[in-house]
């Protein structure tokens, strides 16, 4: 006894769409799921072009997909992650999401009718749940990243968290009368590097160089990404002389060895500004940053690839006149 | 009188398949070669009436053998049997003097048609 009696009820109850077109892309079959979701009756759609029945289809793309199925007699696939839907249908989920349309996973299969004529059968699976779930996950991850402490690319601390730590360390140093120094460094001619090697190249350089720098620091130091190509290091329990040594070491670590990116050998260097905590009061950390920044500016001005320390008493006014 | 036949293919299975596809009525003395170099050695040293030739072989491929046969003016029929069946390839081997082109896996009925057509059986 054949199983034909099964297929009717199953196709009717299936919570996936089934659609069949012939070689000319004329509709041959549309199951109940699709009929209901699209408010199209099979009786009126049969024999008509698929692209006339469903007005909003990505026609060129779909024709190409169908063509490959027909000619190669191999299946073809479409995932909601690459293309949210093929047929624009409203979804029936109670959950709110950014889209009111059903997310779909499609499988296109070669099919021959009894006379041997080639057809394509498209199975449409409702993937809206997965779509909605992924959106929630994305939002959660974004929030997490914001509350996170680390800069995704370089694994250095992100600016916000680093500055918080700087503030705390400054307070601690003041309280216990311990020396504290700050290094601010900046990749020389980074814009040119990006232009020449692309952002991927720039990123590679940042990743490698920050790894090198990290290797030279102690667990008690705070290494953060201050800006695009700007970084800061808080050296606890360190006076200016010691900080200068660290700065020189870092400077050399960067300039002495090129970074390999694809087949390129990229030479780079940094300019470093160093300052020791001097001020008192609640805004001491801001003063410290300002001083290190001034020293960094001088390092750039004096030719880059070098370390310059902040000279006590120097002010911006003096810089301008020099 | 038995016709000397050379089956040339680097695959043992393929050689067996060709052998098995030959009709019972075909009176043939079968020799085999696993690559183009071996094939030419045989072809140059004795009379071979018919060659079944694969295209993709190490040392010297089917095209190389066809070219050598043409150049040496060797007198034998060549039927190319290959996995690669594109029109371009078929055209090429025909220009180099191949009698016919069969694609793998060999269909014994089609082979008989060809052999009859050229009066080999």
């Amino acid at each position: 006894m054949s199983d034909d009696w099964l297929t009717g009820p199953i196709l009717e109850q299936l919570s996936s769409g089934v659609l069949v077109v012939d070689e000319e892309f004329q509709l041959v079959y549309l199951n109940t799921f699709l009929q209901r979701h699209s408010s199209v009756q099979l009786t009126e759609a049969k024999g008509k072009s698929l692209f006339k029945v469903f007005a909003d289809l990505p026609e060129a793309w779909l024709r190409r997909k169908f063509a490959s199925v027909l000619e190669l007699q191999s299946p073809s696939f479409s995932s909601w992650e690459q293309r949210q839907y093929v047929i624009k249908l409203p979804h029936l989920r109670p959950v709110t999401s950014s889209s009111q349309y059903m997310a779909q996973n499609c499988t296109m299969l070669p099919l021959n009718n009894p006379s041997g004529r080639r057809h394509v059968c498209m199975l449409i699976e409702d993937a809206t749940d997965a779509f909605v779930y992924q959106q929630h996950l994305q939002t959660t991850l974004q929030k997490l990243e914001q509350s996170n402490r680390v800069d995704g690319l370089t694994q250095a601390l992100n600016r916000r968290y680093w500055e918080e730590q700087l503030k705390l360390e400054v307070q601690r140093a003041q309280r216990y009368q311990q020396p504290l120094s700050l290094l601010l460094f900046d990749l020389d001619k980074f814009k040119q590097l990006n232009d020449q090697y692309g952002h991927l190249g720039g990123d590679s350089v940042l990743i490698e160089l920050t790894a090198r720098v990290r290797g030279l620091l102690r667990d008690t130091d705070w290494f953060g990404r201050y800006g695009g190509e700007e970084f800061g290091i808080v050296l606890t329990n360190t006076a200016l002389a010691g900080a200068m040594e660290v700065a020189e070491r870092i400077c050399l670590a960067v300039s002495s060895k090129a970074v390999t990116f694809n087949e390129h050998s990229i030479q780079s260097s940094i300019s470093v500004g160093v300052a020791q905590l001097d001020a008192a009061g609640e805004r001491a950390h801001e003063v410290l940053i300002g001083q290190a920044d001034m020293a960094l500016y001088n390092a750039k001005r004096e030719g880059r690839n070098r370390v310059v320390s902040y000279s006590a008493g120097e002010t911006e006014f003096q810089l301008k006149t020099n | 009188m038995a016709l000397p036949v050379l089956i040339c293919d680097d695959s043992l299975l393929a050689r067996k398949q060709v052998r098995k596809s030959l009709p019972e009525s075909f009176d043939a003395d079968i020799l085999t070669a696993a690559n183009g170099v071996e094939a030419l050695t045989i072809l140059r040293s004795q009379e071979i009436g018919l060659v079944f030739l694969d295209l993709t072989m190490p040392e010297l491929d089917g095209i190389g053998v066809l070219e050598a046969i043409k150049q040496d003016g060797l007198d034998c029929f060549v039927i190319v049997i290959s996995a690669d069946i594109q029109p371009e390839m078929q055209k090429r081997v025909t220009e180099l003097g191949a009698l016919a082109f069969i694609h793998k896996p060999v269909n014994p009925e089609k082979l008989v048609v060809i052999l009859k057509h050229y009066g080999l059986i």
Binding site: R64, K65, A67, S68, E71, L72, Q73, S74, P75, S76, F77, S78, S79, E81, Q82, R83, N105, T107, L200, N262 | S11, L12, L13, A14, K16, Q17, R19, K20, T56, S82, A83, D84, I85, Q86, E88, H103, K104, P105
Partner: protein, 203 residues
């Protein structure tokens, strides 16, 4: 566990693959309207654990891609087919398939090409052994953003044996290389050996 195919089984498998490639290349040639030459110099049976090391050198740059697709047939024939290639190569064939190679559709392009290469080849293989296969949707395991080796290790460890098929596709104006790995579980290997023996015996 090391599973070794006998010389005869190997030869048989190699021939089946050659023919499958011939059938696939013919289909592709007609579809792409160009001359396609597919070369399969040799197949290699390796222990899955060895795979990552082998591919690391060749594909270690960030510009490689890895697409996986499961296949399932009768008589316990099943496994995972992985296609590995350099992204710049993928762009060439994508252009041939009529894709606009902007980044948004890169994933789509990768899965389509891989699916076509995998299914035409495996269908050709199945045809010869009187089997038929169904496929799962192709997934990108790794592309320009991810680490290829990790993905490969994670996948390979689920399977016992790997059949490495180095495929070189040559189209009339371009040529590009990609590697295909067929990962097969232990039980399927036994089935395949039986199938090969049966074929060898037929002749």
């Amino acid at each position: 566990m090391s599973t070794v195919f006998s010389e005869e089984q190997r030869d048989c498998l190699q021939e089946l693959i050659n023919v499958a490639m011939g059938l696939a290349s013919d289909k592709l040639a007609r579809f792409l309207n160009t001359f396609v030459h597919i070369q399969v110099p040799a197949i290699e049976l390796v222990n899955s654990a060895q795979i990552p090391a082998q591919f690391e050198a060749q594909y270690s740059s960030a510009e490689a891609a890895l697409v996986s697709q499961g296949f399932l047939g009768n008589d316990g024939l099943r496994g995972e087919a992985i296609v590995l290639y350099q992204l710049e190569n993928a762009h060439r064939i994508a252009a041939l398939l009529g894709y606009d190679t902007d980044n948004a559709s890169e994933l789509e392009m990768l899965t389509d090409i891989s699916s076509i290469l995998t299914t035409t080849f495996l269908n050709g293989l199945a045809e010869q052994i009187d089997n038929s296969l169904s496929y799962s949707a192709p997934r990108v395991l790794s592309s320009r953003h991810n680490n290829m080796t990790e993905a490969l290790i994670e996948t390979a460890c689920h399977w016992e044996l790997a059949l490495r098929v180095d495929i070189s596709y040559q189209l009339i104006h371009h040529s590009f290389n990609c590697d295909m790995l067929l990962l097969i579980p232990g039980e399927a290997v036994l089935n395949i050996q039986q199938i090969l023996d049966r074929i060898v015996e037929e002749y």
